[in-house]
C-alpha cells in the first residue's frame, strides 16, 4: 500500500496531543496532590494501526506501520479490595474511638490518680470518725461538724458524678440524634450521606452513559462511603440493572445475540449498591445479615413527599418496646430503626430492622453492628441491670443475667456506672441512718422489747416506721434525698439527690450518743420483757460507723467489699475498660493507617513520579515536534528533487 505523503504528520500530531494531554493529567495530579479523596489519574493510550488485516495483494515491500497514538480514557488508580478492607477497619476503629471519648468523660471524675474524688472522700470520712471515736471528742460539736463536712463532700462528689454521667449521656444521645443541637448527629449524618451517595450514583451513571468517567464524582462518592463506614459497617458492591426477556433475566452490561447468549460488553455503566451489615442473635444463634441502603441509581430521580429519593434507605430514632421515645433527658436504651430503599414492588420500608442492645429484653435477643460509632453510642447508652442483678439488700437474684446489655458488648455503659454509684449512695445512706437511729433510740428500745420483737432489725424497723409516720418524734436522719424539700426523707436516695439532712445542718439532729442497748433476744419474750442488760456507751454509734467504714458492706458480684474498695472497684472497672479499649484502638488505628498508606501508595500522588513523568512527556513532546521537523525536511527534500 502506498504511504500517504503527510501520514507522518498526523502521527506526530497525535503524539503531540497525547503528550500535551498527559502533561495536563500530570498538572491535574499535582494540583490535587493535597485534595482529600483525590485519586491519582492516568491517561490510557493505545497505538493506532489498521483495524483489518493487510491485503493479500499488498505490495511486498510495504510493511505495516501505525498511524500514531490514540487517547483512550483517563482512569483512576484505585483498588476496590483495599477500599473494602479500609472501610471494614474504619468501622472497627471508629467504634473504639467513640468508646474512648465516652470513657474519657467518665475518667475525668472517676480516675483519682491526680485528683481526690469520691473514694478519697470516704477515706476522709473514716479519718474523721477515727478522731471522733475518742470518748473525749464524741460529743464535741467541732468534731461532729468536721465529720458532717466530710460526709457533705462525699455527697457533693456523688451529686456531681451523677450530673457528669447525665451530661455525658445527653451528649452521647446528641451524637446519635443531633436534632435541636448545633451539630448533626449520626442519624442526620447517615441520612445525608445516603442522600448524597444516592444522588452521586445518579450523576455518575448519567455522566458515564455519556462517556465521561466522572472521576471526580467517584472520588466524592468514595469519600462519602469512607465517612459512612465510620458510622456503621457497610458493604459496597457493583451490580448491573437487569431486565426480563421472557423468563430470562438479562443484564445491561452485556450484549446478547438473538439466542440470548452473551457476545460482549455493552457500554452500560455498572451501579453501586451500599448495604449495612448487622448481626441478629435470637438468644441461641447469631446470624449475619445485610440490608440495602443505597440501591445504585435505580429510580434515583423519583422523590417521595419529604424529598427522599427512591434509591436510598433511612435511619431514624425508634421507640422502645414500652412505647416511649428516647430523648436527651431520658437517653438510656436508645434504639435506631434502619429501613431499606423504596422498592418498585413493595415501596419504602419493605425491609427494616431496629437495633437492640438487649438492654430491656430478657430473651437474650439482640441486633447489633460489628463496629462503627453508632454501635459505640448505642452501647454506651444501653441500660444496665446492675441494680436488679446485684442487690444490696442481701436478697439473692435468681436470674444471672449480664451486667452488660449483651454478651457481645465489650464495655460497661453509663447506666452501669450510674447504677453502681446509686447503689453506693443508697447503701451508705441506709447504713449511716440506721446506725444513727440505733444511736438515738435506746429509750425507745425498752418499749419495743415489750412488743415481743426478737430480731434487732425488726425492732429498728418498727422504730423507723414510727419515726416516719410521726408517732415518734425522733431526729436521726443524717443523709436524705434533697429533692424532697418539705421534710427530711431518705426513701429514694440516688447518687444524684443524696444530701445532708437539714436537721443535721441546723443542729436538731446529731450523731447519736445514746449508746446501743445490749439486746438479749432470748429474754425478749420472758416475763417482763427485759431484753436489755445494760446501757451502751457514748461512742457506740461512732465506733459502729467506723466499723461499717472498714467492713464489707457493699455486695459486688459474689463478694462483699467496703465502700471505699467498692468505689475503687468502680474506678478500676472503668480503667480496665479504658485500658482494653485503648489497646484495641491502638491496634485498629495502626491497621487502619496501614490500609490508608497502602491506598495512598496506589492512589496518591508521588512528586518524584510526576516529575519523572513530566520530563518524559516533555521529551516525548519535543521528540514528536522534532519528528514534524524531520518530516518537513524529508518533504522538502522530496519537493526539492529536480529543482
Amino acid at each position: 500500500m502506498v504511504r500517504a505523503s503527510f501520514a507522518g504528520f498526523s502521527t506526530a500530531l497525535s503524539a503531540l496531543r497525547m503528550n500535551q494531554k498527559k502533561l495536563d493529567v500530570v498538572g491535574q495530579n499535582l494540583a490535587n496532590m493535597n485534595t482529600e479523596g483525590y485519586t491519582r489519574q492516568e491517561l490510557k493510550t493505545s497505538s493506532i494501526n489498521y483495524d483489518n488485516p493487510t491485503s493479500f495483494y499488498m505490495n511486498e515491500n510495504d510493511v505495516n506501520v501505525g498511524f500514531g497514538v490514540s487517547m483512550d480514557e483517563v482512569t483512576q488508580l484505585r483498588d476496590q479490595f483495599l477500599d473494602k478492607q479500609y472501610r471494614l477497619q474504619s468501622s472497627r476503629t471508629e467504634y473504639n474511638d467513640t468508646v474512648a471519648a465516652s470513657l474519657k468523660t467518665l475518667n475525668a471524675f472517676m480516675d483519682e490518680t491526680g485528683i481526690d474524688g469520691i473514694r478519697s472522700s470516704l477515706d476522709d470520712i473514716q479519718t474523721s470518725l477515727t478522731n471522733m471515736q475518742d470518748p473525749s471528742k464524741v460529743q464535741d460539736p467541732v468534731y461532729e461538724g468536721e465529720f458532717m463536712s466530710r460526709v457533705q463532700a462525699f455527697t457533693t462528689l456523688l451529686n456531681s458524678a451523677a450530673e457528669s454521667i447525665n451530661t455525658a449521656k445527653a451528649n452521647e444521645f446528641q451524637e446519635l440524634n443531633g436534632q435541636g443541637s448545633s451539630e448533626n448527629g449520626a442519624i442526620q449524618k447517615i441520612n445525608s450521606l445516603l442522600d448524597s451517595i444516592g444522588q452521586l450514583n445518579v450523576d455518575i451513571k448519567r455522566n458515564q452513559m455519556l462517556g465521561n468517567p466522572a472521576l471526580e464524582l467517584q472520588d466524592k462518592r468514595n469519600l462519602a462511603l469512607d465517612e459512612l463506614s465510620g458510622y456503621i459497617p457497610i458493604e459496597v458492591e457493583t451490580f448491573s440493572e437487569s431486565y426480563q426477556v421472557g423468563t430470562e433475566t438479562r443484564y445491561r452490561i452485556y450484549n446478547y445475540n438473538e439466542k440470548g447468549q452473551i457476545v460482549g460488553r455493552s457500554d452500560w455503566p455498572e451501579d453501586l449498591r451500599v448495604s449495612v451489615k448487622y448481626t441478629r442473635n435470637d438468644g441461641k444463634n447469631a446470624t449475619s445479615h445485610t440490608m440495602v441502603l443505597v440501591n445504585g441509581a435505580l429510580d434515583g430521580e423519583k422523590k417521595e413527599a419529604d424529598g427522599t429519593a427512591y434509591n436510598v434507605g433511612r435511619v431514624s430514632l425508634a421507640n422502645r418496646p414500652d412505647g416511649t421515645t428516647p430523648t436527651e433527658e431520658s437517653p438510656t436504651d436508645t434504639r435506631l430503626t434502619f429501613s431499606n430503599y423504596h422498592t418498585r414492588d413493595k415501596g419504602r420500608g419493605s425491609e427494616s430492622f431496629t437495633t437492640d442492645t438487649g438492654a430491656s429484653n430478657s430473651s437474650g435477643t439482640f441486633v447489633r453492628f460489628h463496629g462503627g460509632s453508632v454501635q459505640a453510642n448505642l452501647d454506651m447508652l444501653s441500660s444496665s441491670a446492675y441494680d436488679t442483678l446485684i442487690r444490696q439488700d442481701d436478697k439473692k437474684t435468681v436470674d444471672l443475667g449480664l451486667l452488660k446489655a449483651s454478651s457481645e458488648m465489650n464495655y460497661y455503659s453509663y447506666d452501669y456506672y450510674m447504677d453502681r454509684l446509686d447503689a453506693l449512695a443508697q447503701k451508705f445512706a441506709k447504713d449511716m441512718n440506721r446506725l444513727n437511729l440505733q444511736g438515738n433510740s435506746s429509750a425507745e428500745l425498752f418499749q419495743q422489747n415489750a412488743a415481743g420483737k426478737t430480731e434487732n432489725t425488726e425492732v429498728y424497723d418498727a422504730i423507723e416506721e414510727k419515726a416516719k409516720n410521726g408517732t415518734l418524734n425522733l431526729n436521726y436522719l443524717l443523709l436524705i434525698d434533697k429533692t424532697q424539700t418539705t421534710k427530711d426523707e431518705a426513701d429514694s436516695i440516688t447518687a444524684a439527690n443524696i444530701g445532708i439532712a437539714k436537721g443535721w445542718v441546723n443542729g436538731t439532729t446529731h450523731v447519736g450518743t445514746t449508746g446501743f442497748l445490749n439486746r438479749d433476744a432470748a429474754k425478749v419474750n420472758a416475763p417482763g420483757g427485759a431484753a436489755n442488760s445494760h446501757q451502751g456507751d457514748f461512742t457506740d454509734t461512732v465506733t459502729e460507723m467506723l466499723r461499717t467504714m472498714i467492713s464489707p458492706m457493699m455486695r459486688q458480684n459474689n463478694t462483699k467489699t467496703s465502700y471505699s474498695d467498692y468505689m475503687n472497684n468502680i474506678s478500676t472497672v472503668l480503667a480496665t475498660d479504658a485500658h482494653a479499649n485503648n489497646n484495641a484502638l491502638t491496634i485498629n488505628k495502626t491497621v487502619l493507617n496501614s490500609f490508608n498508606t497502602s491506598r495512598d501508595q496506589l492512589s496518591g500522588v508521588s512528586l518524584d513520579e510526576e516529575a519523572a513523568n513530566m520530563m518524559t512527556y516533555t521529551s516525548s513532546y519535543n521528540a514528536a515536534a522534532r519528528l514534524m521537523t524531520a518530516l518537513d525536511e524529508t518533504l522538502k527534500t522530496l519537493l526539492g528533487i529536480g529543482s
Binding site: D111, Q126, D134, T539, S606
Partner: protein
C-alpha cells in the same frame, strides 16, 4: 514502594508526633515521680495503689488519735498515782501516828488529824475531777457536769441524829453526777458513808446508802418525783451506778480489731471503777443483781467490820469510804470525849481504835487496788506506744510498696527521657533536611 507526597508527610508527622508524645510522657514521669498518669495505663496498679491510700490514711488517722489518747491515759495514770502515793499514803501514815495514845489523848491533836483527813479526802475528790482537754478523765465526756462532789456532814456523834431524820446522822457523801447516754440532764447519785447502827453501841458497822438526788440534794425517785421516804431510790440509784460503771471508751487505734470490740483498748477508766477496783468488763460480765452486789460489797452482820472483806473490791473498801471512816471516827471520839457520858466516851474510844485498826488493814488492799489501776493504764500506754510504732512501720511499708508499684525508677526515667529527647531532635533534624526534597528540586 511508591512514596507519595501525602503518605510521606503523614507518616513523618505521625512519627514525630509519637516521639514528641513519648518525650512529653517521660518528662511528666520525671517531674511527678509517678509511673502512671492515668488509671487506664495500669488498672491493677491503680487499684492496689488506692487500697494502699486507704490503709495509709487509716494508719495516719490512728497515729494522730493515739497521741491524744495517750495524753488522756497519762492524765488518768498520774491521778491514780497521786491518790495512792499522796492521799492514801498520807492518811495511812497519819492513822498510824494517831493510833498511839500520846497522840489521841489530846483532842486538839485528834482535831488536827481529822482536819488533815478531810483535806486529803478533798484532794482525792479533786483528783477525781481531773480534766484533759475539756474532758473529765474519770467522769465521762459531758463538759458541763463536774462528776464528783464531796459533802462532809458531821454531827455531834456517829449516831447522834433525829430519829425521824435518818439522814441527818453524821455521814460523808460522794455524789456522782453523770449525764447518761441519751439523756438530757445529769443524774446525781449520792453515795453516803455513815455508821449504820442508831444505838450508842460500838457493835454496829458502817454502811453505804445509795440515793438519787436532785440538785439540792433532796432524794428523788427515778422519774424525778420526790422520794416518799429515805432509801426509796436506792435500787434505782444502784442500777444507774452500775450503768455508769459499765461505761467504756473502746477505741480503734490499731490495737485489736473493730470487728470484735472487746479486743480494742478501753481508753476510759471511770473514777468509781478505779476506787472500787471493779472494772467495767467485770461488771459487764455479771448479771445486774450480781454486779450490784459486788459494788455494794460486804454482808450483813453484827460484829464491827466483820462483814467487810478487806480484800473485796467494793464501794465499802474504796479509799473514799476508808478515809471517811477515819474522819467519822475521829470526830466521834472528839465530840464524845468533850461532851459525852463516860460510857459514850468509852464506846467512842473503843470504836476509834477498832476503826483505825480496820483502816490499816483495809488500806493496804485499797492502795494496791488503786496502783493496779495505774499499772493497767501504764500497760495500755505502752501498748499504744507499740501500736504507734507499728503504724509507723505500716506507713513506711506502704510507702515502699507504693513506690514499687506506682513510682518511677528515677535513673531509668531520666535516661529514657534523654533518649526520647535525642530521638525527637534527630527526627526533627532529619525532617528539616528531607522535607522539601523531591525530584523537582533537581530538575533544571
Amino acid at each position: 514502594m511508591r512514596v507519595t507526597a501525602r503518605t510521606y508527610y503523614q507518616d513523618y508527622a505521625r512519627t514525630v508526633g509519637e516521639l514528641h508524645g513519648n518525650l512529653n510522657e517521660s518528662m511528666k514521669q520525671v517531674s511527678s515521680g509517678r509511673k502512671y498518669s492515668a488509671a487506664e495505663e495500669n488498672p491493677i496498679a491503680y487499684y492496689a495503689g488506692k487500697r494502699m491510700d486507704n490503709q495509709f490514711a487509716d494508719a495516719e488517722a490512728k497515729e494522730v488519735v493515739i497521741k491524744d489518747v495517750q495524753n488522756r491515759l497519762y492524765q488518768q495514770e498520774v491521778g491514780a498515782r497521786n491518790i495512792q502515793q499522796y492521799n492514801m499514803r498520807n492518811v495511812n501514815t497519819q492513822v498510824l501516828a494517831l493510833q498511839q495514845d500520846t497522840k489521841n489523848s489530846d483532842m486538839g491533836t485528834v482535831g488536827t488529824y481529822e482536819t488533815q483527813f478531810e483535806q486529803e479526802l478533798g484532794n482525792l475528790v479533786n483528783t477525781l475531777n481531773s480534766q484533759y482537754d475539756n474532758f473529765y478523765v474519770y467522769g465521762g465526756n459531758d463538759m458541763e457536769t463536774v462528776p464528783f462532789t464531796l459533802d462532809i456532814d458531821l454531827k455531834e456523834g456517829l449516831t447522834d441524829a433525829d430519829a425521824e431524820e435518818h439522814i441527818d446522822k453524821s455521814g460523808i457523801s460522794l455524789t456522782y453526777h453523770h449525764k447518761f447516754p441519751g439523756e438530757d440532764t445529769a443524774t446525781n447519785i449520792r453515795i453516803r458513808y455513815a455508821y449504820e447502827d442508831n444505838s450508842h453501841s460500838d457493835k454496829g458497822s458502817y454502811a453505804i446508802s445509795y440515793a438519787l438526788v436532785d440538785e439540792k440534794g433532796k432524794e428523788i425517785n427515778a422519774d424525778g418525783s420526790p422520794a416518799a421516804k429515805p432509801g426509796d431510790s436506792s435500787d434505782a440509784a444502784l442500777k444507774k451506778l452500775l450503768n455508769a460503771m459499765r461505761e467504756q471508751g473502746r477505741m480503734s487505734t490499731g490495737y485489736g480489731s473493730l470487728r470484735d470490740r472487746t479486743t480494742l483498748i478501753d481508753t476510759y477508766t471511770g473514777g468509781l471503777n478505779m476506787l472500787t477496783g471493779l472494772s467495767s468488763d467485770t461488771l459487764k460480765n455479771l448479771d445486774d443483781d450480781a454486779a450490784i452486789a459486788r459494788i455494794k460489797g460486804g454482808e450483813n452482820g453484827d460484829s464491827v467490820e466483820k462483814s467487810i472483806h478487806s480484800k473485796e473490791d467494793s464501794m465499802l473498801n474504796s479509799p473514799v469510804s476508808l478515809i471517811a471512816k477515819t474522819i467519822l471516827t475521829s470526830h466521834n471520839l472528839m465530840r464524845k470525849t468533850e461532851s459525852g457520858t463516860e460510857s459514850e466516851r468509852q464506846a467512842a474510844r473503843s470504836r476509834f481504835h477498832q476503826d483505825l485498826a480496820a483502816f490499816i488493814k483495809q488500806n493496804d488492799d485499797a492502795e494496791s487496788r488503786i496502783s493496779d489501776t495505774y499499772r493497767e493504764l501504764g500497760v495500755k500506754f505502752a501498748a499504744l506506744d507499740r501500736t504507734r510504732e507499728q503504724l509507723d512501720l505500716t506507713k513506711d511499708t506502704l510507702t515502699q510498696q507504693y513506690t514499687d508499684k506506682l513510682g518511677i525508677d528515677t535513673y531509668d526515667a531520666v535516661v529514657k527521657m534523654y533518649s526520647y529527647q535525642y530521638s525527637y531532635n534527630a527526627a526533627m533534624k532529619v525532617g528539616s533536611n528531607i522535607m522539601q526534597s523531591s525530584l523537582f528540586d533537581f530538575v533544571q
